[in-house]
Symmetry: D2
Subunit: 395 residues, 4 copies
C-alpha cells in the first residue's frame, strides 16, 4: 500500500552487519508495518544470509520460483556429452512439459550437437578527440600499443584476457570494443575493471584524448543489439540436429513439411517485424535455466537473440539449427554460488571452474528442444486433421 508522508523513511539497515536473519527480519517487520503485507513465504529461506554478501543489498527474503525438471536431454557437445536432467525455474504452465517433449524427440533422434563458435565479453569505451583525424590516428596507436594496453588491463584480473580491440568511428569519437575471454565468469565486472585500468593507462600515454567514456551503448550490456548479434557478446553457440520425419509423426503428431512451411512464413514475418530472433521462443528456456542456476536473468535481453536456419531434406528429414550469438553465462561468480543455484548447477555437473563451456552447450541444446517442440505444436492440429482426412489415423 502506498504511504503518503512528508518525511522520507529509508529502508532500515544494520550498519554493523546487514547480512543476518535479524537484519532481514527488521526489514520484514518494517514492511509489514508500512504496507500491511504478510511475508510468511518471502521470509522462508533455507540458507544463512551471510552467504549473500556481494550479491544483494537490503536483503528481506526470497522469491521462491518453482523448478520443474525436464529430461533427459541428450547432448553431443565438445564439453557436454551424454544425458542431462535440466532444472527450469518458471511459473508458465506447459513450459516444462513442452521442453521435456522436445528433449524426448531429440533423444530419439540421437541427441543435439552443440558447438561454441566464439567466446568473448566486452567493454566498449568511447574516446573523444578534437576531430575525426585524431580519432583515426588514435585507432592506429591502439594497434601499436596493444601489448601494453593488454598488460594494463590484465593487471586487474586473474582470469580475464584481452584478445582484441575493435574500432568503430563516428564524428570525432572512436568507439571501441575491448574483447576478453573471462574463464568461467560471465565477466561483466572483471572486464569493467580491466578496461577501466586500460583506459587510465591509455589516457596517461596518449596526449590527444579530450575525454573518454567507459561505456557508450556499444557493448549494449542488458540490451539487444545488432552489433552483438554480429560480433558476439558472451558465447556464440550453435545447436543442431537432423530429425527423421517419422519421429515428428510418432512423438509430436506433427510433420516436417508442415513445420518447414510455417518456418518460411515466420522467417518473412520476423524479417518484416524487425525482430532479434527469427525462431520461436528461446527466451523461455534460457530464462528458466538462468533463474534456476543463478545466471543474471537481465541478460535475457541480450541472450534472447537467435538465428534459426532449417532445411527440409528430400526424404522428409528436418535439419534444424539455432544459433545463439550472445549467450551470457557463468558457472562461477555472480549468483552461481547461492544455495539453490549452486545445487542446480551441480545437477548438471556444471558448478565452478572449467564448466562454463559445458553449461553453454546444455543451454543451447535445451533451446533447440524447445524450438522443435513449439514448432511442432503450431502445426499439430493441421497435421492431425490432414491425417484424419486421409484416413491414416483410422484403426
Amino acid at each position: 500500500m502506498a504511504t503518503l508522508s512528508s518525511e522520507r523513511v529509508p529502508v532500515p539497515r544494520d550498519r554493523d552487519n546487514d547480512y543476518t536473519r535479524e537484519a532481514a527480519r527488521a526489514r520484514q517487520e518494517f514492511l509489514r508495518e508500512r504496507t500491511g503485507a504478510d511475508l510468511e513465504h518471502v521470509s522462508s529461506y533455507s540458507f544463512d544470509p551471510s552467504s549473500l554478501t556481494g550479491n544483494i543489498e537490503q536483503f528481506v527474503g526470497v522469491a521462491q520460483v518453482p523448478i520443474g525438471l525436464a529430461g533427459p536431454l541428450l547432448v553431443n557437445g565438445e564439453h557436454a556429452q551424454g544425458e542431462f536432467y535440466v532444472p527450469l525455474a518458471t511459473a508458465e504452465g506447459t513450459l516444462v512439459a513442452s521442453y521435456n517433449r522436445g528433449m524426448r524427440l531429440l533423444h530419439e533422434a540421437g541427441g543435439v550437437t552443440t558447438t561454441i563458435m566464439a567466446d568473448h565479453m566486452q567493454r566498449a569505451p568511447a574516446f573523444l578527440f578534437a576531430s575525426a583525424r585524431e580519432a583515426r590516428e588514435f585507432g592506429d596507436w591502439l594497434g601499436q600499443h596493444f601489448d601494453e594496453i593488454k598488460a594494463a588491463a590484465e593487471s586487474t584480473t586473474r582470469s580475464g584476457r584481452l584478445q582484441e580491440i575493435e574500432r568503430y568511428s563516428a564524428g570525432r569519437i572512436l568507439f571501441t570494443r575491448f574483447n576478453y575471454t573471462t574463464g568461467d565468469a560471465a565477466g561483466q565486472n572483471l572486464t569493467g575493471k580491466a578496461t577501466q585500468a586500460a583506459c587510465r593507462w591509455i589516457k596517461d600515454h596518449h596526449g590527444d584524448i579530450e575525454h573518454y567514456f567507459l561505456e557508450s551503448n556499444f557493448a549494449t550490456d542488458k540490451k539487444s543489439s545488432q552489433v552483438n548479434m554480429l560480433r558476439t557478446r558472451g558465447k556464440r553457440v550453435i545447436a543442431e540436429a537432423t530429425i527423421p520425419n517419422e519421429l515428428f509423426h510418432r512423438i509430436m503428431r506433427s510433420d516436417s513439411g508442415l513445420m518447414y512451411r510455417a518456418r518460411q512464413v515466420s522467417n518473412l514475418g520476423g524479417f518484416m517485424s524487425g525482430v532479434n530472433n527469427n525462431g520461436a521462443h528461446s527466451a523461455n528456456g534460457i530464462t528458466a535455466m538462468f533463474i534456476a542456476t543463478g545466471q543474471d536473468a537481465a541478460n535475457v535481453a541480450e541472450s534472447s537473440a537467435a538465428f534459426v536456419y532449417a532445411e527440409l531434406r528430400p526424404n522428409g528429414d528436418y535439419y534444424y539449427s539455432v544459433t545463439i550469438p550472445s549467450l551470457i553465462v557463468a558457472t562461477y561468480g555472480g549468483g552461481t554460488g547461492l544455495a539453490t543455484q549452486r545445487e542446480c548447477l551441480e545437477m548438471l555437473d556444471c558448478y565452478g571452474k572449467d564448466k562454463v563451456r559445458k553449461f553453454t552447450e546444455i543451454v543451447a541444446a535445451t533451446v533447440l528442444c524447445g524450438e522443435l517442440s513449439l514448432g511442432s505444436a503450431i502445426v499439430a492440429e493441421e497435421w492431425v486433421e490432414a491425417h484424419d482426412l486421409y484416413g491414416r489415423n483410422r484403426p
Copy 2:
C-alpha cells in the same frame, strides 16, 4: 553429471497427483541417484505444491532468489500515487543499492511522473492466399466483418476485448495483429485462445484462405522487435522527472552537464550499434521486479526495449524520460498468485484485480531511478576530480 545409458529414463511422475511433496521428493531422489546432486535448499519450499497446478510440470523444488528492498520510491502516477518499497529479486551485487540511491534522488526531486500511453496485447496470425490480390481483398473483408470477428474472439474470454486488427502485407501473405485489452492479466494465453477462435470463424466464413498460421513472428512473443517498439505490446509507459543539478551534486556527486554530454555519446553509440534501448540498463530493474512479483521473466526480451529522451535546461536542471514501449506485466494470473510472488505484489498493494496499471507505473518509475543512478555513477569520478581541481570540495 552426465549419464551415458542406452535406455532413456524419463523424469518420474505420479500419474494420479503430481503436485505433492511426495512427488517432488521422488524427483529429488531420482536426481540424487542419477547426478549425485544434493538438493537440500532446492527442496526447502514453504508452500503446498498443489498451488502450482497450471504453473509448472515435474516440480522438484524451488530456486530461492534473494530479494532486496529499495525505497521509498515516490510516484506521481495516475494509478500509483505516493511512496512504495520495491522488492528486487537479484543476485547482482550493487543493483539494489543503485536503484535505492536513484529512488532517493527522485524522492528529493519530487517524485517520478508516470503515464501509460497505450495498452494492448496481441496475437498475430498470418493468412495465406493464392496471390496478393486476394490477400488485399481479405484485408478489406476483415474491416467489414470486424464486429463478428470480435464477437467470435471475445466468446472465449471474460477480460479480453479485441480493439483492432492491424494489417501488414508481403507476397501472398497478410500478416495481422489482433490487439486486445486484457484486464489485469498479461494476456498471452487469453489472446491466443481468442485469436484461435477468431481465426476459426474467419476460416469458416471466408472462402479464399489457403492456410493460416496463428503466429508468424509478427507479435514476437519473447523477442524484441521494431514493430513492438513502434506499436506496443503490453503497456507503453513513460516515466519522467526534472531534477535540479544541486541534487546531482549533493546526492550523487555527479553533474547534469556531464551526464548530458555522456548521453549524447550514448545516443550515437546506440544508434550505430543497432541497440533496442538507448538508455542504460532498464532490464536490471525490470527483471528483478519480474522475478519478485511472478511476472514471466522471459518477457524481459521484449520489455527491455526503451527510448530515453533527456534535456539539459539552461539552469542546469535535467529533464529525463524513459519510455518503455512493450512492458508486459500482470497482477492476476500466471505466476502472480504463487506464495512469495503474491506477497511481493501485496507489498505494493498491487495484487489482483484493477491493479495492473498501478503496477505498471511502479515498474516504470523504478526504471527511471535506475537510469539516473547508473548515469550518475558513470560521470561521478570525473565530477569529483573536476571538483577537487577547482577546490570546491576543500573543507
Copy 3:
C-alpha cells in the same frame, strides 16, 4: 581543379532570367576558366532551359545518362496490362541485358501479376509538451478534431487528401504521421505544405503545445526505415509469378531447386546482416527507371527496401514474390515533365494524370524480372556443372 583564393567567388547568375542558354553558357565559361574543364558534352542539351524553372538552380548543362531498352515486359496488373518496353538509364554493363533476360523468362511464364496494397505519402510532425500526459491528451484531441485538421491541410492542395494521423509517443513528445493520398504526384512537397497548414491550425487551437517540428525523422524522407517498411511511404506494391522449372532450365540454364536453396541462405544472411531487403538487387532496376523517367533518384534510399518471399512447389515450380513497401513514384510533377523524362514515361503510356498506379505496377514487375535473372545467374554455373555431370547436356 581546386582553386585557392582569399575571396569567395560565387557561381554567376543572371538576376533577370537565369533559365536561358546564355546564363548556362556563362556558367560553363566560368567553370572552364576556373577549373580548366571542357564541357563539350555537358553543354549539349536539346531543350529550352526555360523548361527547367522549378526543377533546378544554376543550370549549367546536362548529364547524358545512356538508356537501354528492355522488354517486352508482360504485366498482369490492375492498371498496367500487356507488354511494355522499359527504358533503363544506367552505366552498369549487363544490367539491361539481365533485366531483359528476366523479362523473357516471365513473359514465357505468363507475365507478372502486380498488386498495389497501400498508397500514402506522409509528413511526420513532432509535438512537444510539458509532459507525456499532455502529449497523450493531445493524441486524443487529434482524433476528435480530425475533420478540422483535414480541412486545414487540404485547403492547400488540390490532389492531396489526408487519410489518417498515426501517433507514436516517447517522453514528452508525440510523433505523428500525417498520411495522404497524393494523386499522380510523389507528394513530398504537397504533403509538406498541407501539414504545415495543419500544424498552424493545430497550434492555434490547442493551448498546450510547447513547440512543434515539421519533421523529426519519423517519415524518413530519403532514408530507409523500419517504420516505412512496415507502414509504407509511397506505394506498397507486390509483384508475383509462378515459373515452371522447365523455363529455368531452358531460358536461364538454371534450376528452381538450386535457386531456392540459395534463397534460404540469403534469407539468413540478410536477417543476420540487418539488411533492408532480403532480395537480390531491386535498387538496380528501380534506379535505372527512376533516372530515365524523371523520378527523384534520391528516393532509392527508401524505395530500395524489399521483402522477398518464395516457395518451391512439389512439381518444381517456383513461386516468387517481391514486395516493395515504400516505392515513391510520380507521373506528374517533379522531373516527370522534363524533355527526355517525359518521353520515357510516354513510351510506357505513363505520363500525366491517372497514370501513377500503372507506372507503379510496371516498376514492380521490372524488379521481379531482375530478381529472377540475378537469382538464376548465381546458380547457373552449378547447374551447368551438374547437368554436364549427369550427361543430360550431351548431344
Copy 4:
C-alpha cells in the same frame, strides 16, 4: 502504350555491332511504331555510341538530367584541399540552391574538414558444411591459408588487394566478408572476380565444403544494412565543422540553439523509426553528384546511411559532423569515363587514377553543407519570429 500480342517481339539488336547510331535509331523507330512515343530528346546525344561498350545494352538514347552548379565548396581534406564547384544532377527544385547556401555558410566558417576512416569493398561468400563444427574449423583454416587465398584472389586483378576475411557463423554456414582495397574503382566487379577465384581455390583445397554461394546478403550490394554501417563498404568518411552562431544568424537566419534542440528530437525520432540515417537528407546531395559524375546511383541504397553527431558549445558555436559509413565511389571504371560524366569529374579534378579519395572527400563535404542548410531552414521561421518578437530585427 501497352501492346497486346500473341507473339513476343524482342527489342531489335544489330548482331554485328550494336553500339552505333544506326542501331540506336532502329530501336527508336521500333519504339515509335509500337508505343507512339516520340523520342526527339532521348535521341539527342552528343557522343559516339561506341564509347558505351561495357556500360549498357540495347542503347536507345539518353536521359538528359539537368546539372546545377553549387559552390564554391571549401574543403580542408587530406586529399581535397581548396575550393570546388560541384555539379549536381537533379530535377528537385531548390536542391542546388540549398546546397549552395550551405556551401556559403561553411566557406565563411573556414571550410569542411574531411577524413577517410576506412576503405574497403567486399564480396561475402557463404560456405556450407555438414555441421557448425566443420564450419568453425574452416574458419580457422581460412586464417591459416590467408596468404594463398590472397594470391588466388589477386591473380585476377591489378588494383584489388585482399586485406582481410571476416567470419560470421550461423547454423552449418560460415558467412565471410572478403575485404579488398580497390584503387580508384568502386570495385564491385573486380572483387566479384577475385572472390570467385579465391572460392575456387578454397574449394579445391578444402575437402569439407558441401557448397558455397558467392553472395548471400552479407555484403548487401545495393541494399542498406547494419553490417555495412558498422564495418564499412566503400569508404567510411567523416565531414566536420564548427560554425559560429553569428554565421547562422547572418547567413541562414537561423540559430544554433534552435537547431540543436531540433536535432535532439530528430535523434529520438530516428532511433524509434529504425532509420539508417539520423541526419537530414544526405541522399539528395549524394544522388545528384552520383548521377553527374557517373557513379552507380543504385548505390544510393547503401551510401545514404549516415551518422550525425553534433554539439552545442557554451559560446553558441555548433560542432556538426556527418559520418558516411558506406560511400561507394569511383573515379575510374563504371560510368566515370562517359562523355558528360568525365567532364563533371574533371571539373573537380577528380577523373582517373589516384583521385578517388579526393572525390570521396568532396562528396562528404557537400553532404555536410546540405545537412546544415536544411537543418537551418527547419528552424528559420521560428528564429525569425523570435527575433521579431524581441525587437532585435527592428531598424
